[in-house]
Symmetry: C2
Subunit: 423 residues, 2 copies
Amino acid sequence: MNKDPMQNPKFKRSAVQPEQAQQLIMPYVKQLGTEQVPLTEARGRFLAESVRAPHPYPHFRRSGMDGYALRSEDTRGASTDQPITFEVIDAVPAGSLPNVPLRPGTAARIMTGAKVPDEADAVVMLEMTEKQEQDGRTWMTLKREISAGTNLTPVGRELQAEDLLLEAGRMISAGETTVLATFGYHQVQVRRRPRVAICSTGSELLRVEEPLQDGRIRNSNTYTLACQVQDAGGEPYILEAIADDLQLAKQRVMKALEEYDIVITTGGVSVGDYDIMADLVQGGSLNLLFNKVAMRPGSVTTAAVYKDKLLFALSGNPGACFVGFELFARPAIRGMLGAPDPYLPHMEAVLGQDYDKINNFTRFVRGSLQFKEGKVFVHPAKLDESGVMITIKDSEVLIVIPPTSTGVKAGQLVTAIRLPQGG
Amino acid sequence: MNKDPMQNPKFKRSAVQPEQAQQLIMPYVKQLGTEQVPLTEARGRFLAESVRAPHPYPHFRRSGMDGYALRSEDTRGASTDQPITFEVIDAVPAGSLPNVPLRPGTAARIMTGAKVPDEADAVVMLEMTEKQEQDGRTWMTLKREISAGTNLTPVGRELQAEDLLLEAGRMISAGETTVLATFGYHQVQVRRRPRVAICSTGSELLRVEEPLQDGRIRNSNTYTLACQVQDAGGEPYILEAIADDLQLAKQRVMKALEEYDIVITTGGVSVGDYDIMADLVQGGSLNLLFNKVAMRPGSVTTAAVYKDKLLFALSGNPGACFVGFELFARPAIRGMLGAPDPYLPHMEAVLGQDYDKINNFTRFVRGSLQFKEGKVFVHPAKLDESGVMITIKDSEVLIVIPPTSTGVKAGQLVTAIRLPQGG
């Protein structure tokens, strides 16, 4: 039998609170360098610099209707009994400029989005007018007064030049793309994606394509982590799994720390959980940040620093690995991307069912969201132990259950962390 | 001046309700073919077939702790005063199988996740025991009774063989990946992504990289739509913009309908909004589904069918184009991917501020979400006219304001449609 690793003093762990663990990581999170990408490839990337409006928007006086541009003062007194007739002396399709100045008593046919002639101060809807043509000239009759500014979008209605459009660190999705395209940003300066190495350890792990064997399980954490890394904005690199050769394992982890921006391991090795980590830390190569967190699942989550690289050693239990990533590794990735708030969004929600488990540690319970009559409810998953993998797929939130000796009753307010719904 | 397209009878439009418009589209939405992708590339894809468990999970009796596996009956009577000692005759690391059968009075050292020997029915935590070694033999002493089943996960605790794991049409993200990997699905059968052609029309449009010109705007809808298509699960193809050549425009749209699964146009042409569509429909090549929807923004949204292909002609106004896509084109894309519910999720929320605008049509107002004390509030964006582009970026929901002659007061319940937060 192997010597018992649990008796070794290096396994003495003192627990830090989850928030404290997050704070211990952050000083080592540095924004990565930048690169330029075409706007068409910028979706999901993070802006490296704030973007300001190079010009007002709209940048010309824009017609909001198909109709006629005219001087509102010329419509004074118009009524059903006293219609006023305008000669139509110009036509301005969208994208064109007016051809002639509008004189008093004249109007220009104009399309939605077209530039309103400088002399006009209003646009009247086509439906409010009647048209006559005679001898190659066109006339338009109006039976009501039109006030200045009608159907006319002034310059700068939405934005002035130099207005802040998008803050640095913002992720680019559809709405950001609208803004960037509108202002001519066809190339976008974004942060380089963090390169994240993922490495599972444990001789119980079968490759996903291997036939099942008694006493062994397939390696699912690696694939789940790869998705989570992508959801966070990083690039996952799945390394070869490490079985039970400690020396090889150490070499591999150290090499990964040299080559990647972040290294995530999941699971222990056959001679004891986190043996590799403990050895690396004892050897002085790594600066240990924490090796126990006062939380369930995932209390044995470990983080360490090598030079300027972060190493996360997550539990091998699927639920604990999932939660450990979202609480600790994701904020590191988001921080490297320059996100101003790297943590998942929190909300206050009503607990939908009693949660009876008691614990000295904070629990992060997988759960689902329900919206009903203006209220938001969260429902704990039926199975939420750290070893359970099946409920990860239906989880929309992590329900935060503080240390409790009584459980929490349905109807009480709890904090819920919204999980990414990636893909 | 051009002849006035608004006087042409082909522009007579009769409005359908938004739900009715959605229903008119659905009969033409057919699930696309399938393809196989490696699990590592399956994120964001849609399962083509339901997935069942090929074996129970766990598939062996799993230890939930580092400790000793034993027969609970052997612990009967153990107490501080009367400790019971077991000979430790085996060691089972995770991934290994027990080497010898456990006899009464013996125990096996066992690691978390390892297979519990068949003769054992419980695992006692290491911390509850004391170890003695003598003459090359190992003994373990226990001071309390252990009940059957302690720290032992039975076969099939999470899932039985043949249990439904994932329904067809489900999108693959982190949790689905966990399940697929656990059960050995290293290749996944998914739906082919819909190929969506995007084509803007309008001679007012500048390319994003062109310098600004008076009276013209940059083409932003195309890029926004490309993001929206990706968020929906489709593959966007940005076609060359169409200026004012009607014949060329028709040719291009018809060619795109032959080559792509869906065609989306945005904006009109300089001689009148949607002239192309009207001409195509009049020419008999297309089957018009609707060309006006009783909604704001985007009342002129048009949908038509050519053979088995859908064409969406969305407004050129940024806000209207955005909303038109999410309400009509996205469900078509999701339907082609086999999603059981292709529409964006709805919720009941509390209106955070008065909304005073009145309208005969249903309004889909861009807004933001706020969670507070267990309630969910929605706040309309300050600028939400169809022509406004800047508020798209901060929109998390579309607030549904039914036809009203009074507006809606703060505190009332409204329906909110949750927008994708893509990337």
